[in-house]
Symmetry: C2
Subunit: 443 residues, 2 copies
Amino acid sequence: MQHCDTLIAPRWCIPVEPAGVLLEGHAIIVADGRIVDLLPVENALNRYQPSVLIERPQHVLIPGLVNAHTHAAMTLMRGFADDMPLESWLRDKIWPAEIQHVSAEMVRDGTELAIAEMLTAGITCFSDQYFFPEIVAETAVDLGMRAMIGTPVLDFRTPWANDAEEYLHKGADLVHDPYSGHPLISSCFVPHSTAVLSDESFTALRVTADQLDVRVQIHLHETAAEITASMEETGQRPFDRLEKAGLINASLLAVHAIHLNAGELARMSEAGVNIAHCPRSNLKLASGIAPIAKYRAAGINVAIGTDGAASNNVLDVLAEMRLAALLAKSAAADAAAIPAPEALHMATLGGARALGLGHAVGSIETGKWADIACIDLNTLHSQPVYDVCSQLVYAAHSDQVTDVWVAGKHQLDNGKLAHINSDNVLKRSNEWRERFAAQAGMQ
Amino acid sequence: MQHCDTLIAPRWCIPVEPAGVLLEGHAIIVADGRIVDLLPVENALNRYQPSVLIERPQHVLIPGLVNAHTHAAMTLMRGFADDMPLESWLRDKIWPAEIQHVSAEMVRDGTELAIAEMLTAGITCFSDQYFFPEIVAETAVDLGMRAMIGTPVLDFRTPWANDAEEYLHKGADLVHDPYSGHPLISSCFVPHSTAVLSDESFTALRVTADQLDVRVQIHLHETAAEITASMEETGQRPFDRLEKAGLINASLLAVHAIHLNAGELARMSEAGVNIAHCPRSNLKLASGIAPIAKYRAAGINVAIGTDGAASNNVLDVLAEMRLAALLAKSAAADAAAIPAPEALHMATLGGARALGLGHAVGSIETGKWADIACIDLNTLHSQPVYDVCSQLVYAAHSDQVTDVWVAGKHQLDNGKLAHINSDNVLKRSNEWRERFAAQAGMQ
């Protein structure tokens, strides 16, 4: 008998890789934070002596969901300004509130709310873009959450930095210290959009990113207005400005990427650019519908993001992948487009690859970190079960997530957060609500 | 002190009528199944002596959600055939399974599963279209659910009837007996679509519907293919055939109504036709996106339907109204289109009106039946709360529904079904699963 930390015995397991596989009656063996074996449960019980045995007889185990794009701290602004177009939403509501309130303390509390919400929804890794990224990293480490920490890069002053040089400098610090090599934390640069950086700053960004070997994320072609404004100001589409700066490459995660012409699509495919699709935010801000079936057919890796709670209003990748599958069918006028297994792939391994973490997480495979979510399918709205993956994608709610492990650590245990005090998180969220509401003249 | 059956004291109440109102600290007084008062909680406690006092200090009370279009018994076929276009989905999967399995027993068990699911999701009234409508009515009465029972009308044989004359005859029987005047049950005729009835049968349907003073529902202009096929077979669009039969009137509920030309839209507005919008089903079958902001601007009453679980795959009006609000913004290219209060209106009073029940349910008003849903907003993904209605529409899950009353009867009590044994329902659902799967050669 071999010792292991955890033996999980669900009814079903969808490992995602290899594709199309549904395992029934298999056990997942976890040791030292990693998946060390995946085998029929009777063999597992003969071979392994676990410290903890978790039986989930009506559940399906999947790789932890990956939220490829969010602004975690903005969860404190959930529902702060709804039913407004993107430009005025940002200019009249979000930015004035941020100028007033963004601080290390706000980022810590907002990120903690977001992580608590994401863990309960089966998310084990998120890619964040916000100010005070060092606080986001610290909070993720404290709470045991996997995170890709995006350092903002802007040409103007915010509560965190003064100009592009300072943003890049602070971002470089973050890569080296204190989280260099931490198993849960990776870093990247996140210029907000091409509107906020000069060509010189983009070039400086590329040089720094290359030197540090870190990836870049950017909101790209989210709205038609963004493209029109860029044409008016620079005579170029945002894509072309990135291309000239040498940023159209396999290290780029293009967020939204709704409005691509045929040439841009071909170039992104050729260069191996990844796309983070945020369907609910795109609908809510009326930005458009990204034709992801077309992107997938072109061989582009598509990940799923929730965007920030201020434009969503929940951090729920399960709901987001369902919407992605549904919208893709409509956009392609083909009910067979993005079938359930492909949607699940985008929300797991597709997300991991988009963040450069495909070797480490995103599927239930021996050797990968044990980032795992477990979903109870024995609810009224998930029965009967003809096809497990289909039921997961088209019928399951995030409330059915019972268990989550991040690097083998049991973070959600039978529906309860194991290491986060939700009452404290909600109490602090409400204190922030009072401050934001007062500033905006709300009740 | 006046006696009453139930005094409910939630933190908030959105009565829907009058529009735009949010009450805080108000109590709802229920007696003899009806709402008899709505007043500040301190006054209520001085004036009423309730048999039952229900305090819900972190919850919002809303009118029970109305599911304006479903096929309840098909819940047994949830996920039976996903990722397929409408025509082959029906012809190759759904219809062969129905021919084999539809029976009074199947309709009872499927409807029971659907009602259990709907009650837990805050739905207090559903409009059903399926075979054996007398069994649907009987099941709804047994379980205490409000239902609009649609009698199918077809020109061909099914397990329930042989031809249009027999369908109409059986439908007329249902109107008169045994549910005539039952407070929970109403009836209407539901020809499946114009493809399945001759002009003569439509005329007979109109005469019978007029004589009995019952309403008509029909799948109308769900797909572009439906219109093309009608043009090829009859030289007319489905809408024109209904118009000629005298069926374009205020008693009509047009289900889906995705593809309307300007003239049809104007006529529907003028005639007071209601539309049942089923956004998730429309996306999943790639039928198109109904531009409901345009319909609402034309003054058309729009209701929300889930359609059947075989094409959705859940009966969740809360999720459906969120998707309706989001999709409408995208379709209108206007993030301000269908703001949260309008989405909630469609899912409650709009639904009630579409079923001819606007006088009886759909809002929390004195004199109406106490059809009420209560939603807990104190969850990680619903906090903080800046705008209650917005939070309800854009962030709340059906799992947050804690309580439901139908005609004053407490059907969901603090998250538990009070009068339905879920385990039995799930057991029978799984027996049906085995039969459906065996017939389809699935595992």
